[in-house]
């Protein structure tokens, strides 16, 4: 053992000696080579300045390689290979391989690092100013040197951006404007550069600037599309603040000075009314003093969202509790609902939804999912799933087109429903006579006094304080579902139409209303999605006696016994008025049932999946 150890140490020692000897020979070799070089290259630059330069510890042949015979070199027959600084400065060398100056103009290190043989380290050098001076030797850019950043650097601010902070130093990318090949890539690249500093809290605080501007921008349409990775059609930072002439709003030379806004926005938006310019590019919803309208809209929408969801979630949970416990009791006592074991006449199918309304519901489902699947990636632009989904659509542009197409379908559907409602209230021949009776009657979807009593009855039933109320044709939650679409269409549809063509909208409303429209559109969409995917789904499909789905809306018919059980008042009315006979239908066929189950369950699963994504984004996004 000892022997092995001793042998190992011996090998190590020998290795070290060889290494040291090798280095010494190399050093001597280099020194000798340097001596040889200076025999001819005897200018003071090489004899004196180089010895005091930062590279003094290198010999001539460290950089000038490839001379095999000094006599041949002396006679001009052998030239050294081009100097490759990257053999020592490897990282920079690698970066520089893609540098525009190298690719396009074949710049070499010494073209910027002039007088490389005498280069020395300067203590406490202002690197930022040195960079600006170097770049402006060729890129004399008065726009930059007179701008906020350039001026600040020249005044000694070490936070302000010099050329390299945006363009990089050794890996300068080219997005040359004359090439016009990469507007989207360039926008993305530079916007990230701006965000890098302007979201840095410590740096912004030092400079008396807000670090929230980036977040506020990211909350707008511009910022969200940008964040999704499709920056082509929207404004990045430089589109409004320009590239080099970046000055505060107060400065009349600034692109964002009120006098210059029209031209500034006009570079992308055309045909707008001057009041379009009051649109806020980075609004803070929580700033009551600066943006009161936005602040109160934010509160209102937040309140509506929380209030509606809180009420209905509680309602659903209590309902589910009651039904589940009730089922449990019936299971123990061996009670089976008559609708389940119906025989004879009880098995007869009766129509609840005609083909027309079933088709309309399918169209509504399709348009709703399209809207959610194309709209929510924008709402949660920062998340992975949003990017994946948008990629699946084929980009933000395609998603936008589909969103508008689905919106159009929904608007047409809504217009038709409005027409149907009017026809219901004012049937041909009847005119206005008795419209109020029809409005609050049992066949109407408009709430009436009985709905209030039903809510009370349901709550009492939840707490075992009474029997479940007897419903007529429409329950209060169904009426809410129906009317919520009207409200939703007013809020989402109205704001969506304003945002559809914002330039035209400016002839109706000022630009700041578009900020409100965006907020309302987004918050109301969240409410609608969560309402449908949780409350509507639970009330109609997931409640224990319907679970996993109620196919009624797709097949259109159910058993007489079910009608009797779920809507006893309607049943009694139908029997009394002798209308039941006309509502009897064939049992739905196997294909209809299969299609209904596939479409229905597919929709339910998709909705639940989207709910998980949305909640995930809210909680952890």
């Amino acid at each position: 053992m000892k022997f092995i150890k001793a042998r190992r140490s011996g090998v190590l020692l020998a290795g070290l000696i060889v290494l040291a000897a090798g280095l010494a020979i190399l050093q001597t070799g280099q020194a000798r080579a340097t001596q040889d070089c200076r025999f001819c290259h005897d200018e003071p630059l090489y004899r004196f300045d180089f010895n005091h330069s930062i590279h003094a510890s290198n010999g001539c042949t460290s950089c000038h390689v490839g001379i095999t015979n000094i006599e041949n070199h002396r006679d001009g027959k052998e030239k050294p290979a081009p100097v490759n600084c990257g053999s020592c400065h490897q990282e920079i060398g690698k970066e520089y391989q893609n540098n525009f100056h190298y690719i396009q103009e074949d710049f070499r290190c010494s073209d910027c690092h002039l007088n490389i043989h005498a280069i020395r380290k300067v203590e406490n050098k202002n690197v930022k100013i040195a960079i600006i001076e170097k770049c402006t030797e060729c890129h004399g850019n008065p726009d930059y040197t007179a701008s906020g950043h350039g001026e600040a650097v020249l005044k000694g601010n070490q936070d302000a951006a010099d050329c390299s902070d945006c363009h990089s130093l050794h890996s300068t990318r080219v997005f040359h404007i004359s090439l016009e090949q990469y507007p989207a890539e360039a926008r993305e690249f530079y916007t990230q550069k701006c965000k890098h500093c302007h979201a840095d809290s410590a740096m912004m605080k030092r400079n008396n600037l807000s670090d929230r501007m980036v977040a506020y921008y990211e909350g707008t349409y511009h910022g969200k599309v940008q964040e999704l990775g499709y920056p082509a059609p929207v404004a990045g930072c430089g589109d409004c603040h320009t590239k080099h002439n970046i000055l505060p709003k107060k400065d009349s030379r600034s692109s964002i000075h009120p006098d210059n806004l029209k031209a500034n926005c006009g570079r992308c938006h055309t045909g707008f009314h001057p009041r379009f310019l009051s649109y806020q590019a980075h609004p803070d919803y929580t700033d009551r003093a600066k943006y009161p309208a936005l602040y109160f809209t934010f509160l209102l929408m937040g309140g509506l969202l929380v209030g509606t969801l809180a009420f209905f979630w509680l309602h659903t949970v209590l309902w589910w509790r009651k039904v589940y416990w009730e089922h449990h009791r019936m299971e123990i006592e061996g009670i089976v609902l008559p609708s389940v074991v119906a025989t004879g006449e009880g098995l007869q199918q009766v129509e609840r939804f005609s083909v027309k309304y079933r088709i309309m519901h399918v169209l509504l489902v399709l348009s709703f999912f399209t809207l959610v699947l194309t709209g929510f990636p924008l709402k949660y632009a920062g998340t992975e799933w949003a990017e994946t989904l948008t990629r699946l659509w084929g980009g933000a542009h395609v998603a936008g087109l589909l969103h508008r197409s689905a919106a159009f379908l929904l608007i047409v559907g809504m217009a038709y429903v409005t027409l149907e409602s009017l026809r219901f209230l004012f049937p041909r021949g009847e005119g206005k006579r008795g419209w109020f009776g029809r409005l609050i009657g049992p066949d109407s979807l408009f709430p009436n006094l009985k709905d209030l009593q039903d809510i009370k009855g349901m709550v009492r039933w939840y707490f075992n304080k009474g029997e479940a109320p007897k419903f007529d044709r429409w329950t209060y939650w169904e009426k809410f579902d129906f009317l919520a679409v009207f409200w939703g269409m007013f809020a989402i549809g109205g704001s969506g139409i304003l945002l559809w063509k914002p330039e035209w909208s400016s002839y109706l409303v000022p630009g700041w209303v578009l900020n409100i429209a965006a907020l309302v559109h987004s918050e109301e969409a969240l409410l609608a999605a969560l309402f449908i995917f949780t409350i509507h789904f639970f009330n109609t499909h997931f409640i224990p006696n319907k679970f996993p789905m109620d196919r009624l809306i797709f097949t259109g018919t159910y058993r007489v016994e079910e009608l009797k059980e779920q809507r006893p008042l309607e049943y009694e009315r139908l029997v009394a008025e002798g209308r039941l006979e006309s509502m009897k239908r064939e049992h739905p066929s196997i294909p209809i049932k299969l299609i209904s189950a596939t479409f229905g369950l597919g929709s339910l699963l998709l909705g639940l999946f989207l709910t998980v994504l949305i909640l995930w984004s809210i909680l952890f996004g």
Binding site: P82, Q97, I103, D106, E137, C138
Partner: protein, 257 residues
């Protein structure tokens, strides 16, 4: 025609319309799949392939189609300098053997100049014409070295924007506008008062320019005047260049108009 028959007829017509629509859609899809550009008559090769071909020592002519000054400043090692315009003018600058492998390359990823030269070579009857895909940028980005025969020291050549130049032309009388684009491009349109000294002839014709004027170089897009300017600076000229070249000039003409 009874109502039932009419209904049947309408159904049949709808069927026909639907089938026609589907057919048109399919035809459009098929056409989309087919409408790729016709492949060029020359062979496109990438940088590693060229590197391998040159290393194999095959008898090939690799030609840099940029101007002489640009080519001598930096080129792929072991290649020749023959400007695109020279190739277009006469086949005598190319090898005599029409079966010789010729590889053409230029400075931009678009390979506009090498493609023009390749087109000419094929017209002359050369059968093995190649173009380096991505040109010198691709070669450099692949990490391969370059060689310099007569390297031009890089100068500080200020770029003036079109609007500034317009102003300068009004205020100063020592400006000499020199258009370095090809004779053909110059003939198609140029800034009034410019003289045309194409870049590929600059090394032979620069002495025609008076030394006491400030030379403003103009090219297509502003990419090629920097090196030309640096070259002229070594010859004692005061040089500026037009930012974005003729493209920049055209933009302000559009705005003024």
């Amino acid at each position: 025609m009874t109502r039932k028959e009419r209904k049947h007829d309408t159904k049949r017509r709808t069927g026909w319309i639907m089938s026609a629509a589907v057919f048109v859609l399919l035809a459009a899809l098929w056409a989309c799949g087919k409408t790729q550009e016709a492949p060029p008559p020359w062979k496109v090769i990438d940088a590693p392939t060229l590197k391998a071909m040159m290393a194999a020592g095959k008898n090939i002519s690799v030609i840099n189609t940029m101007s002489e000054i640009e080519c001598l400043d930096h080129r792929i090692p072991g290649t020749q300098c023959v400007a695109c315009e020279e190739i277009e003018r006469s086949p005598s600058v190319l090898p005599a053997d029409k079966d010789q492998v010729i590889v053409l390359y230029c400075e931009s990823a678009g390979c506009y100049r090498s493609c023009r030269a390749a087109g000419a070579a094929i017209q002359y009857g050369y059968r093995k014409v190649h173009v380096l895909n991505g040109g010198m940028p691709a070669w450099k980005q692949a990490g391969y070295s370059m060689e310099s025969i007569e390297r031009i020291p890089r100068g500080s050549i200020p770029a003036v924007r079109a609007l500034t130049l317009q102003q300068m032309l009004v205020e100063r009388d020592d400006i000499l506008l020199v258009d370095v684009r090809s004779e053909k491009s110059y003939k198609e349109g140029h800034i009034e008062g410019t003289v045309n000294i194409p870049l590929y002839r600059l090394s032979r014709r620069y002495a025609e320019m008076p030394l006491d004027r400030t030379v403003v170089l103009i090219d297509d897009r502003g990419f090629r005047t920097f090196l030309a300017g640096s070259y002229l600076e070594t010859k004692g000229y005061r040089v500026m260049r037009l930012f974005k070249g003729m493209q920049g000039w055209a933009e302000i003409q559009g705005k003024n108009g």
